[in-house]
Symmetry: C2
């Protein structure tokens, strides 16, 4: 049997513990599949004494993850500390500079420093793998980089933050307000220490930016992901959208257009009958569209010990088996800087507004939309309440620019009691 | 730029043409991703003169695929002729013996000769890749072999024959009989020349047997896939199943049990609200379950020029990038012979029968089930027609053996006008 692959694991939280458990439980299977043993040599974490429910006595210990990353007796540094900067970045750089491959679950680190780290890796002849950074246990990085390697990728769509999808699903199914569903998710431990990473869409946007780089051969461009969290999604919109046959999801979309790279992580409506629309709870889903393959849908757990550790192990096993690819699927120095698209491609929109209950009010709204070049696909007026009338409109394809113009014109008519909420309907 | 990878393509039907188109259309992208050009050197097909809508003038031509497979100026032989024996097998063997890697879409070839071919490949130091042989464009071989490499695979489920799913979906949605839906599928060109490959479940069983080998480290064991086609599925059962919240699918299931490897390709009920239950038309779906990752669902087109060519190109690109794995994920000589499980693990069953409309009839049926140790979860009796009463029963978990005993006992009661149809309900 050839030499073992020797791991140093930094970070022994949920995911780190999961990786240790897999290596301990499945040693013989891993060796048969990799053609060589998979061994843990040393580990590092904040506290040595904490009981993590796994036996670490056979492994070396380093208080300093950078020292672990540099150990000459490891082949592979597994970074599971998290954080875009600080120890995670320092240790990753140290590992690469020592010529060690790196496997990481750290989406923030790569979304922000991915290009520099990929260049460092290439200079050192080392690999960085990050399956666990995107959509937990779903092998989406592999599906995109390798499975769709013969395709021009036309669009990526994804529900990639389970916490947001849990909150939105609970609002719809249990009739909770956003604040109630948020509190429930918090009580279940689903939220990051900084909840804005989840509900603000930042965490999911990190993941989208990584997939974009692979799909379009561009440098990771997280700052140009158009970001809008779920904090402004109301139970009213969730219900009205459902009435019209849609569900509201925090949806990541990336596509290369004639006007540049479009990347968005925003609440969108999707058809309730589509796989994305049917996705409930904390599950993740990524839809990959390619010019040959059509549409591939991948669904699975986006977080948790087992699924994330499974993804880490997929990378470890690839490296153990000698599978080595550039970080983003092609040499980092050859990645183009993405030109960010200023505006998203046109789409239908959902509009919800409240009108004063006066004759001719609806006609004024319809005229304002028409004058902005926006045609109406469907309109519904609901029961009047205290002199006002809620109105829902689904438009034909239009741009957000035209829509904002129309909303301003509608507000100026004097018949709008509550200005329009506009949500994009992503066509599938 | 390093040396090109040089392809010889045998078979220029739908898929072969698709592969040629991708190589011609995406040359620059493929080269950037592979780090080397991807070139077609020569092709082979039955008729040289046929207009296939692609320009083949730059490529060499071989009338004999075996001669193509042996050409010293190719690195990689792409086998797209089909058929378990004959030219496909001869040419594949010739390519391997010449030390050439092989990419194939041929499920029958590998389901029947996979072990011998894998051993030949290993002796020659060559690779065989077959992503396109299973579930068309869905990168399921890669997801299972690599993405889930850290998992003990606990179960594989799949709808892997789009034609069968199309027929079943049309029966349910358009109220067609099996014969009508079959004729419609035939008219659309969805059926193989020998339709029994589709509707008999053979084609899908070939695919399942390949996935089993990867998942469980066993030799491909197609003869022990329990096979039952969709020809006996009636519109009545589809409707009654829907009433009870289920859909009928031709479902492949593979799992390793304490009593051996269980492989089935049979019509089963699945919950209508599950991803498998929601799958309509010709789309394929594979569900992979692992001890760490939980449940991963993969969905996409299972056939057609673009999707299948996309899968072929994924394999071509892997080999161009130097990704080389044993055929079934671990050395062929190390694969264990699978012990086939005699009986499937217990499951709930759906029973439909017609009783004579006499007092006490239902009680006799319930007693027969009880005496066979089968308890009833739900029962429905429908409107009587001409002295008979259709009855539906969903049982708690039981074995097919106990069920057959109960059906014989029910038939002996004298109250059964039409003997029970029994369909397994696969739990998800």
């Amino acid at each position: 049997m050839p030499d073992p692959i020797r791991l140093g694991i930094a970070g022994l939280g949920t995911v780190g513990r999961g990786v240790v458990r897999i290596v301990q439980r499945h040693g013989a299977t891993l060796a048969a599949r990799a053609g060589r043993p998979v061994e843990i040599v040393a580990v590092s974490a904040r506290s040595r004494d904490k009981d993590r429910g796994v036996d670490l006595s056979a492994y070396g210990w380093e208080d300093d993850p950078v020292a672990l990353a540099r150990r000459p007796d490891i082949d592979l540094f597994v970074e599971l500390m998290g954080g875009a900067d600080g120890p995670a970045k320092d240790a990753t750089e140290a590992a690469l500079e020592a010529g060690h491959d790196v496997v990481t679950a750290n989406k923030a680190l790569l979304a922000i420093h991915g290009q520099a780290l990929a260049e460092t890796a290439e200079r050192a002849g080392a690999a960085i793998r990050f399956e666990a950074a995107v959509a937990g246990g779903i092998p989406v990085v592999k599906a995109l980089t390798e499975g769709l390697a013969g395709n021009e990728v036309t669009r990526i769509l994804g529900v990639m933050n389970g916490t947001c999808n849990y909150i939105l699903t609970r609002m719809e199914n249990a009739g909770l307000t956003y604040d109630e569903a948020f509190a429930e998710a918090d009580g279940l431990g689903y939220l990051e220490a900084d909840p804005e990473l989840d509900v603000g869409g930042i965490d999911a946007a990190h993941k989208l930016a990584l997939l974009s780089a692979i799909a379009f051969g561009t440098r990771v461009d997280f700052p140009n992901v158009r970001l809008e969290g779920i904090g402004s999604v109301s139970i009213d919109d969730i219900r009205h959208a459902a009435d019209m046959g849609y569900r509201i999801k925090l949806l990541g979309v990336a596509r290369m257009t004639g006007r540049g790279l479009e990347q968005r992580m925003t609440p969108c409506l999707v058809p309730a009958s589509s796989p994305l629309g049917q996705l409930e709870g904390g599950t993740n889903m990524v839809v990959l569209e390619g010019d040959s393959v059509g549409q591939i849908v991948l669904r699975g757990a986006g977080a948790g010990e087992g699924p994330t550790a499974s993804a880490v192990m997929a990378d470890v096993m690839d490296l153990a088996r000698g599978i080595r690819l550039p970080v983003f699927g092609q040499p980092a120095t050859g990645l183009r800087a993405a030109r960010a698209a200023v505006a998203a491609v046109p789409a239908p929109y959902y509009l919800r507004m409240t009108l004063v209950d006066k004759p001719g009010a609806l006609a004024k709204i319809a005229r304002a939309l028409g004058e902005a070049g926006i045609s109406i696909d469907r309109m519904r007026q609901y029961d009047h309440a205290e002199g006002t009338a809620p109105v829902l409109i689904v438009t034909h394809r239009t741009t957000r620019g035209a829509l904002e113009e129309a909303i301003a014109a509608m507000d100026a008519t004097g018949v709008v009691a509550e200005s329009a909420v506009a949500l994009r309907i992503e066509e599938l």
